[in-house]
Amino acid sequence: MRKYHLVRRADAKLKRTLLYYAIGILASLLIGAVILAVLGVNPLEYFGKMFTIGLVGNKYGYRQIEGLLKNFVPLLITSVALSLSFKMRFWNIGGEGEFLAGAIAASIVAFQVTGLPNFVTVLLMCLAAMISSGLIGVAVAALKVKFNTNETLMTLMINYIMLYVIKYIGETKADWNFFLQEESDRPIFGTFPQSAFMGSIPIGKFSLLWSVIIAVALTVIIYVYLKYTKHGYEISVVGDSSATAKYAGMSVGKIVLRTMFISSALIGLAAALAVSSAGTISDSITNDVGWTGIIVAWLSKLNIPAVFVTSFLIEVLQYGCQIAASQYPAIDSNYANLLQGIILFSVLVADFVANFRVVRKEDAKNA
């Protein structure tokens, strides 16, 4: 005899959802604290270090903020870009591959195009990256639209293919390979010429990279794009019901192609900003933003302002763990990923509780 029965809630109230999310996150932090305690670390001290990213009592605190922002920019843009395609229910999990393609294209410009002003070089780098990443997105979208090829698996394969491309470039010493340092016998990625470096605005000791401003501006633009433009409107209709979109006379294929181009081009842009800020490229340049971005987008329910906040918090978590790792040898930076996983699991549970409810059978008719 089953007395209880699951019923999908007719409405999910925002307040209730947020409350459950908060409970979920707190619970995960609690689990994280228990892990720390078991390993003999005071959780309060550790979390204190982590969430203040080592700013407290640090003369060079501004350096930490610079470092944090440098990592934050690619994650933010990538998460925003992925939200764009997920909103259309297009499962682009190729963020890593698209990022690498963009990074390589931008680096080619950085190494090969010299003698131009800094601004122009960086702009060219961005354009090259956006086009090459965008084309990958378009190719995948075209196959999906035309032949209904599984986009999740396709983009997954592209991630790995691109990873080996960059490894090949980074590990092959050859005459043609302008990516590497000439003077070194071992293959090491070279540093960009000065003209390819991302400029910055000095604010006292602190220097604010232009890329941060670009990223924030982009976030606002995409927010407006999704919320107020015809394109954004089309994306939400296609994502909600492609049958309705067809009924309304929209050309669904065209919308999917266009959106995937924008989404992957943005990821390419994130890569260009990342290599230009770093002044070099490496096979770990992605910093896993292609993966983390998916989690950020999902945690934020594809809401752009929420993506901004979530990606910032996740970056604090990641970066804070790196900082804290130097002082707690027992806890390395993987703790961040561990915690991130636990948080997402809890949020998935919270999401369920917010959307379903258990009813007793006798009460079912009042559901």
């Binding site: 005899m1 089953r2 029965h5 007719a10 409405d11 107020y228 433009t229 015809k230 394109h231 954004g232 409107y233 089309e234 939400s236 209709v237 909600d240 019901s241 049958a243 309705t244 979109a245 067809k246 009924y247 309304a248 006379g249 929209m250 059978k361 006798e362 079912a364 008719k365 559901a367």
Partner: protein
């Protein structure tokens, strides 16, 4: 009499909509019981509670006199109940044998066992089925699939067999064959419930008939002691006087003409079979027919969402065959279809009322931005005029109750000022007041000179509201009648295929005499 099944006071609601209200039903052992009712009368929902898909909100079920609880299809199977669903539940890529084996209990652990095959073959032979057990379902014809579904439940040892509209997909010869099998099953001691709309079939096959209407139990009669006329009355209800206005408008020229139109459904079977009709300006033409007689396909074809096989569709002298949905919209044809789940077509459920308002004309705004300001005003206008109950214009449509969803949909359709309005089941699941609001909207449109095609369910309403009613059965035109010169009984007989008045009395129904276009021109 000992009953195989007894249902007492069964009630089931989906959200605010009650699909079954306090229903009683009894199936005697070794009889064939027909479950008769119009679309939406709750027959399938009721049967799905026997098959374990749904659980009743209240009421009790007795099998062989014992009170039981059916929580899952597994429970249902164990109690000896087998259901043949209207939409077949078959794994397309499996063979017939494999499909049967999925549901077998305690019959060997290995597939393709010799004894299993033998058992199935014996069952098939016993009831005279002719079936290739190694044929893959995807390669089967519809009738083969159905044979397989029936064989399946017999192999599981079901003593109570429920068939949901089994004849809907069969030819006349196949129906005869099916009935022979059903009789044989009855003689072997099985108890059978058959859901159907077709009165001639009810008369031919059943021992008793239980009638449902609007989710309520009406009556159970012995087939031998009744006739088609009585049954029709029970099914559609006695004529109630409805105070629905029917303003008489000067009819203008034919706006939309459909000639010799043939359309296939998703399964590739003919859904609309050589149909002719036309709609004039200022005219409200009703389409009556049993559910699944091709209404959906017809609406989709006119809106450009479905390819047609042959025939012509002419709008104000121009062929719209092959036009994109967008082009057809721009021509002034608007279509709204309320599917059974009431959300599917025409609305984006997660988007707000405002956003749904502009679904068809968002592109008209200049510049890259969507004009939400006027959209919001329009949404507010629709909300005020049609009395939509909603917290605000920004509420997602999904959160509205059914009636309000339909008002939003219809409100949008008429605001674009179409000259042909096609609306299917606009009052599906609505209460009386909301329904009247919708009727008034349609009448206002008619007064403006719009030609309206109204696909409906309730004959009383259609007789009161429509100027003319076109009746279709199995995709074939049974005739077009004038609402003032017909009766519900006549329409009922036409809907069930008993009466066909096309080409009677020397007149070709459905073709406009004063059409601006000759047949030859249309073809060109």
């Amino acid at each position: 009499m000992e009953y195989a099944i007894e249902l007492k006071g069964i009630t089931k609601s989906f959200g605010p909509v009650a699909a079954n209200k306090n229903i009683n039903l009894a199936l005697a052992k070794g009889e064939i019981l027909a479950l008769l009712g119009e679309n939406g009368s709750g027959k399938t929902t009721l049967m799905n509670m026997l098959s374990g898909i749904y659980m009743p909100d209240s009421g009790s079920i007795f099998i062989d006199g014992k009170k039981v609880e059916i929580n899952s299809p597994e429970d249902s199977g164990k109690l000896g109940i087998g259901m043949v669903h209207q939409h077949f539940k078959l794994v397309e890529r499996f063979t017939a044998l494999e499909n049967i084996q999925i549901g077998m209990r305690d019959d060997g652990r290995f597939v393709h066992g010799k004894d299993v095959r033998k058992k199935i073959e014996d069952t098939a032979a016993k009831f005279g089925f002719d079936i290739d057990l190694d044929k893959v379902v995807a390669n089967m014809a519809v009738s083969e699939k159905q044979t397989l579904e029936i064989l399946k439940v017999l192999c599981y040892g079901a003593k109570i067999i429920i068939l949901d509209e089994p004849t809907a997909v069969l030819t006349v010869q196949e129906i005869d064959k099916l009935f022979a099998v059903l009789r044989k099953m009855r003689d072997e001691g099985h108890s059978i419930i058959i859901i159907t709309h077709k009165l001639n079939e009810v008369m031919a096959i059943s021992d008793r008939v239980t009638i449902l209407r609007h989710g309520e139990y009406i009556d159970t009669v012995v087939t031998k002691e009744t006739n088609e006329k009585t049954l029709t009355e029970l099914m559609v209800g006695r004529k109630i006087t409805l105070n629905i206005d029917r303003p008489l408008i000067e009819k203008t020229h034919p706006l939309l003409e459909i000639r010799d139109l043939t359309i296939k459904n998703d399964e590739g079977a003919v859904a609309i079979d050589h149909i002719n009709f036309y709609i004039r300006g200022g005219e409200l033409l009703g389409v009556a027919g049993i559910a699944g007689s091709g209404q959906k396909e017809l609406c989709e074809a006119i809106a450009g969402l479905r390819k047609i096989e042959s025939g012509q569709m002419i709008h104000e002298g121009e062929s719209i065959v092959g036009m994109s949905p967008k082009k057809i919209l721009e021509h002034g044809i608007s279509m709204s279809f309320i599917p059974e789940d009431r959300l599917g077509m025409g609305l984006a459920p997660s988007l707000s009322i405002t956003d749904n308002m502009i679904l068809k004309n968002y592109n008209e705004a200049t510049g890259p931005f969507v004009d939400r300001k006027s959209a919001r005003e329009e949404a507010q206008k629709v909300i005020d005029k049609l009395e939509v109950v909603t917290p605000s214009t920004e509420t997602p449509v999904r959160r509205l109750s059914g009636g309000n969803v339909q008002k939003v949909l219809l409100g949008r359709e008429i605001k674009s000022g179409p000259n042909v309005l096609i609306t299917a089941y606009p009052v599906r699941g609505l209460d009386i007041n909301s329904s009247y609001t919708i009727y008034n909207i349609l009448n206002e449109e008619k007064k403006k000179g719009t030609g309206i095609l109204f696909v409906g369910e309730d004959l009383d309403v259609m007789l009161a509201l429509c100027d003319k009613i076109m009746v279709i059965c199995h995709g074939r035109l049974q005739g077009v009648v004038n609402s003032d010169h017909t009766t519900k009984e006549e329409i009922g007989l036409m809907m069930t295929g008993t009466l066909n008045i096309v080409n009677k009395e020397g007149k070709t129904d459905g073709i406009a005499k004063d059409s601006a276009i000759t047949d030859e021109e249309g073809k060109a």
